[in-house]
Amino acid sequence: MISGCAANSLQCARPRRAAGSRRVHLSQLMALVVAWLAMGASCLHAQQSSPTENQVKSAYLYNFGKFVEWPAKGVTGGEFFTFCVLGDDSFSSTLETTIAGESINGKKVLAKRVAKPQDAVSCRILFISSSEQSRLKEIVAALEDTSVLTVSDMPQFTRRGGMIQFVVEANRVRFEVNLTNAERAGLTLSSQLLKVAIDVKRSAQPGS
C-alpha cells in the first residue's frame, strides 16, 4: 500500500499543463478527498494538506448542483450558478476556494455570503451554517415559494424544513434528504443522489 500511496501522491503532484490553476485545485481536492476517505490517515500524512471537513462538505455541495434540477421558472441568477452561505464566515471562504472556476450545466459557479435569508432568493444552493440554528424557522419561511436548495450540517435540519443535511458518520461525511421539502420547492433530486443518501425522508410537517 505504501507504493500505492506513492503512486497516488505522484499522480496528485503532477502538474497539468493544459488545465488552469483553479481547475487543478479542484481536481487535487477531489483526489485528496477520495484518497483520504479510502486510505485512512496512515497514507494521508504524506499529503501536503489533508481535506478538512469543510472542504469535503464544499465538494459535496458542488456535487449536489449536478444531481438536482431546478424548475425553469424559479431559477434566478442569470448566467451564474450561485452558491450562497448564510452564517459562518469560515465555510464561506473554503467553499469559495473549492469551487472557484468550476461550472455546472454550462454556468459558471459563484459563491457569495448572504446576511439574511431574503438575500438568498437568487441562490441555487444555500448552505446554512450551524450558527443560524436559532433562526432556522425564519429562514425556511423566508425561502418558502422559492427554488433554493437548502443544505446544512445542523442537527434535525431535515426535520425542520431543511432539504439536505450533512451527517458525519464513522469519520465520513454523509447526508440525508427530506424529499418532501425539496419537492415543495419544485426541485427534482436525482435518484442517484437519493441512492447515496443515508436517509430519505418523505413525510415532514412543515415548520416542525
Binding site: N8, V34, F175, S190, Q192, L193, K195, V196
Partner: protein, 780 residues
C-alpha cells in the same frame, strides 16, 4: 450407388454431384459461422459496453459521494447476467472502488490498463471478453468501470451452429444423391447406352443396330441421332463397298480368263517364234557349214596347186590358180562377214568376256599381219603403254584388231608405216591404229562404218574388201561397251581409235600371267615355242622375227642385259644371239646365260657376221650360223633344237564326212610331214582308235550318224584315250555351251575359213609337241 452399373460416367456424375454440393455447403456453412462469430462478438462487445455504461452511470453518484457500498450494490445487479464473471469500478486515479464477482469472493482483481485518449476499450483474452470504460459525468471523468464476461454463450452458439451445419450437410448430400440419380437417368443413361451400342458395332461389325433415342431434344439425343446417322452412312458405304468388291472380283475373274486365253495365245506364238529362231539358227549354221565346206576345198586345193605339191605348174597355170585363190578367199571372207553380221543383227553373237592385257592379244594378230605388211615393206610399230586389264572377248578383240590392221596395211602404199598404240584413258583402254595411207575424205568418214560402204574412187586395185569389215568392227566394239571413231586427212593417213572397258582390278593379275589351261583358241599362240631374238639392230630383229613367225612366237631384246632379263622372265624355247653388240657382246651374254641355272638349258643359236664357232661352242652355244642367214636355214636349225610336234611314229586320225575335205587335209598334213589316216564317220573313227594308237584326232563336228560331240564323249570315256589330243575343225557356228564343252574336252578349235591351213600346222605342232614335252618332263 442407386443404380449398380459398371459405367464410370455414372460414378463420375454421382461423385461430381456430391463433391460440388458438399463443397458448396461446407463453404457456405463456414462463411456463415465465421460471419456469425464476428457479428456475435460484436454484439457481445456492444452489450457488455452498454452494461458497463449503465453500471458506470449508476455509480456516478456513489463515486462522487464516495459511497462504495452503493456502488457495490449497483454492481451486484449484474447477477442477472450469468455470463458476467466479474465487474469493478475504479476511481479516476485507478484505485479499486467497488467490485463484483460471480463466484463470490475471490482474489483481488488486477487493475485494468489505463486508457489513453479513449473512453472505452475491449479485448478478448483467455476465453473472456473484458470491457473497460471511463465513467463520464458532465464531461468529466468520474471513474472507470470494467466488466468481464465469459464466452460460453458464444461457444454454445457455435456448437449449435456446427450441429446444424452437419445436419444440413448430411441432408444436402442425400438430396444431391437423389438429384444425381435423376441426372444419371437424363444424362448418363443415353451415353452409357451409346457406348454399349458403339461397343457392339466395333466388336461385331454389325452396322444395322441403332441406338434408342431418349425423346428429349437435348445434346445426348443429338449425339445418339448423329451416331445413328453415321451408322446409317457406314452401313450404306459398307454395302456399296461390298458391291464394288463383288464387281471387282467378277472383273478380276473375267480378266484372269482373258489373260489365260491371251497367255495361251502368246505361248503359242512364242513357241512359233522360238521355232522360227531355231530354224534361223539352223539355217545360219548349215549355211556356214554348207557354204564353207566346198569353199574350203576350193581354197585348199588351189593353195596346194600354187605351192606345186602335185607337180610344177607353168606360169599361166600359176596365174590362173592365183586368181582362183584370191577369188575364193574373197568369197570366203565375204561369207564369214555376212554370217558374223547376221549373227550380230540377230543378237546371237555371244561374248565371252574375260580380263586380260591387250598386249597379250597383240602377238597373234601381228603374226598374221606381219606377212601382209612385209609384202609391201610396211613398217609395223607397236606402242603399248596400257597397264590395265581390259574386260573383253579375246577372240572378238583379235578380230577387231585384225580388221583394223589389215585395213591399214591394205590402204597404205609400199614402204609406209602402220602403228598400233594402246593407252589407259580413265576407265577405258584406248587402242588406236594409225596408218600413213591414202586417208579418207571427210564425207566418207561418216559412212565408213555402215554396211557395204566402201570408199569410192580408190580405183587402184586396192579395193578388194567385202565392205563389211568396219561395220562388223564397229558393232563388236560397241557390243563390248566401247566406242570407235576415225580421224583422217586425205593423202596423209587415218587413225582408227576404239575403247575397251578397263577391268576394275589391275594390280591383282601379274603382268605375265599364263594360265596353264587356257581356252583352246586363246592358248593357241601361247604354247607356240618362243624364240628370243637378241640383236642391237632393229631391222635385223624384224627380219628374223618375220622368218620365225608365225611358226614361233617371238620376243626381242636390244642388248645382252635385256636378253638376260627376258630369258629369265620368259623362259624362251630358244635364243638367237648376235655377237657384236655395243654394250656387252654376245659371248659374255652367252656365258652369263649358261651360268644361271634357270637359263642354262635354253638352246642358244649364235647368229653373227664373225666366224668364231670354237669360242661360241666352248662357251656353250647350241649352234652357230654366219650372217646373212637365210630363212630355211634358220628355221631348220631352230627346228632341230626346239622340240617340234611332227613325229613319225604317230599318225593323225582325220575324221570328216566330206571326202574332198578329207583329201585336202591329208594333202596339207602330208606336205607338213605328218602321217595321216582319214575316216568318214565317227563310228569308223572309234573303230580305228580301238585298234591303233594315233598321235591326235582332227575332228569335224557335223557328220551324219555319230557327230563330232559324240565322238569326243566316247573318246574321253576311254581311260587310255583320255589324254589323246583332239583338234576340232568346223564350219559350224558354236553356241556358248558347245564352245565351253570343246574348250574343256579338246585341245584346239579351228574355224574353217581362209587361213586355216597354216594355223592347223601351228596347232598340231603345239599340241603334239606340248604333249611330248609333258611326257618327257613326267619321265625325267
Amino acid at each position: 450407388m442407386f443404380r449398380v452399373r459398371g459405367s464410370s460416367i455414372t460414378k463420375r456424375l454421382t461423385t461430381m454431384n456430391i463433391l460440388v454440393s458438399g463443397a458448396a455447403l461446407l463453404i457456405s456453412c463456414a462463411a456463415f459461422v465465421a460471419y456469425d462469430r464476428v457479428s456475435f462478438r460484436r454484439a457481445m462487445v456492444h452489450n457488455l459496453s452498454i452494461q458497463a455504461q449503465i453500471a458506470g452511470s449508476n455509480s456516478v453518484s456513489a463515486l462522487l459521494f464516495d459511497d462504495a457500498r452503493t456502488a457495490e450494490s449497483t454492481l451486484s445487479a449484474l447477477k442477472a447476467a450469468p455470463n458476467i464473471v466479474s465487474a469493478g469500478i475504479y476511481t479516476p486515479e485507478g484505485r479499486p472502488f467497488a467490485m463484483y464477482r460471480r463466484d463470490g469472493a475471490g482474489e483481488n482483481l488486477e487493475l485494468p490498463p489505463i486508457l489513453s485518449g479513449q473512453i472505452e476499450a475491449h479485448w478478448f483474452e483467455d476465453g473472456q471478453l473484458t470491457v473497460v470504460r471511463t465513467i463520464v459525468f458532465q464531461e468529466k471523468p468520474a471513474g472507470t468501470v470494467f466488466i468481464r464476461s465469459d464466452l460460453q454463450e458464444m461457444s454454445h452458439r457455435l456448437k449449435r451452429y456446427a450441429g446444424i451445419a452437419a445436419l444440413v450437410l448430411f441432408a444436402s448430400l442425400i438430396a444431391a444423391l437423389l438429384v444425381a440419380s435423376v441426372f444419371q437417368r437424363a444424362v448418363a443413361e443415353p451415353i452409357v447406352h451409346l457406348a454399349t451400342i458403339a461397343g457392339i458395332v466395333s466388336r461385331d461389325k454389325d452396322y444395322s443396330v441403332r441406338a434408342t433415342s431418349t425423346g428429349n431434344r437435348d445434346e445426348p439425343d443429338i449425339l445418339i441421332q448423329a451416331f445413328n446417322e453415321m451408322l446409317e452412312q457406314i452401313q450404306q458405304r459398307e454395302g456399296a463397298l461390298q458391291r464394288a468388291q463383288h464387281e471387282l472380283e467378277q472383273r478380276v475373274r473375267e480378266r484372269t480368263t482373258q489373260l489365260a486365253v491371251t497367255n495361251k495365245e502368246l505361248d503359242l506364238r512364242n513357241r512359233e517364234v522360238e521355232r522360227a529362231t531355231q530354224m534361223k539358227s539352223k539355217f545360219l549354221a548349215s549355211m556356214s557349214h554348207e557354204l564353207r565346206t566346198p569353199l574350203n576345198a576350193i581354197v585348199g586345193f588351189s593353195d596346194l596347186l600354187a605351192e606345186g605339191t602335185p607337180g610344177q605348174l607353168n606360169d599361166k597355170q600359176k596365174r590362173f590358180v592365183n586368181h582362183i585363190k584370191q577369188g575364193s578367199a574373197h568369197l570366203l571372207q565375204l561369207i564369214n562377214d555376212i554370217l558374223d553380221l547376221s549373227k550380230i543383227e540377230a543378237g546371237q553373237l555371244e561374248m565371252r568376256t574375260e580380263e586380260f592385257f591387250v598386249k597379250d592379244a597383240l602377238p597373234e594378230v601381228l603374226s598374221t599381219i606381219h606377212p601382209l605388211a612385209m609384202a609391201k615393206n610396211i613398217r609395223v610399230e607397236q606402242k603399248v603403254e596400257s597397264k590395265s586389264l581390259v574386260k573383253a572377248d579375246r577372240v572378238r578383240l583379235k578380230q577387231i584388231l585384225y580388221n583394223l590392221l589389215s585395213n591399214a596395211v591394205k590402204f597404205t602404199p609400199n614402204d609406209g608405216r602402220v602403228a598400233i598404240e594402246c593407252v589407259d584413258h580413265w576407265d577405258f583402254v584406248r587402242v588406236s591404229v594409225t596408218d600413213s595411207g591414202i586417208g579418207i575424205r571427210p564425207e566418207d568418214q561418216k559412212v565408213i562404218f555402215d554396211e557395204f560402204r566402201q570408199v569410192e574412187g580408190s580405183a587402184n586395185g586396192i579395193n578388194e574388201g567385202t565392205g563389211l569389215g568396219l561395220a562388223i568392227t564397229k558393232r563388236l566394239v560397241e557390243q563390248q561397251g566401247g566406242q570407235i571413231s576415225v580421224e583422217s586427212e586425205l593423202g596423209k593417213g587415218s587413225r582408227f581409235t576404239f575403247t575397251l572397258l578397263a577391268a576394275e582390278t589391275t594390280s591383282e593379275v601379274p603382268p605375265v600371267a599364263e594360265p596353264p589351261t587356257a581356252p583352246v583358241i586363246a592358248a593357241s599362240g601361247r604354247l607356240t615355242p618362243l624364240v628370243l631374238i637378241v640383236d642391237d639392230e632393229g631391222s635385223a630383229r624384224e627380219l628374223l622375227a618375220s622368218y620365225l613367225e608365225p611358226e614361233y612366237r617371238v620376243a626381242t631384246a636390244e642388248s645382252g642385259a635385256e636378253a638376260l632379263k627376258k630369258a629369265q622372265q620368259l623362259r624362251p624355247d630358244a635364243i638367237t644371239l648376235d655377237v657384236l653388240m655395243p654394250a656387252s657382246n654376245g659371248f659374255e651374254t652367252l656365258a652369263a646365260l649358261r651360268k644361271n641355272p634357270e637359263t642354262a638349258n635354253i638352246p642358244v643359236i649364235i647368229l653373227s657376221i664373225v666366224d668364231q664357232k670354237q669360242v661360241g661352242f666352248a662357251l656353250g652355244a647350241t649352234d652357230y650360223l654366219i650372217k646373212p642367214v637365210r630363212k630355211p636355214a634358220l628355221l631348220e636349225t631352230i627346228r632341230r633344237h626346239v622340240p617340234l610336234p611332227a613325229d613319225d611314229d604317230s599318225s593323225i586320225l582325220l575324221v570328216d564326212d566330206d571326202p574332198k575335205a578329207l583329201e585336202l587335209l591329208e594333202e596339207t598334213l602330208r606336205a607338213a610331214g605328218y602321217e595321216t589316216q582319214g575316216v568318214r564317220s565317227g563310228r569308223r573313227a572309234l573303230d580305228v582308235l580301238a585298234n591303233k594308237a594315233v598321235g591326235a584326232i582332227l575332228l569335224d563336228l557335223l557328220m551324219p550318224g555319230m557327230d563330232g560331240f559324240e565322238v569326243i564323249r566316247h573318246v574321253r570315256q576311254e581311260a587310255a584315250l583320255k589324254d589323246l589330243p583332239i583338234l576340232v575343225m568346223t564350219g559350224k557356228t558354236l553356241t556358248a555351251e558347245e564352245a565351253a564343252l570343246l574348250s574343256r574336252e579338246t585341245q584346239a578349235l579351228l574355224q574353217k575359213n581362209g587361213s586355216w591351213q597354216q594355223q592347223l600346222i601351228v596347232e598340231l605342232r603345239r599340241v603334239i609337241g606340248g604333249r611330248k614335252l609333258a611326257k618327257s618332263a613326267g619321265q625325267s
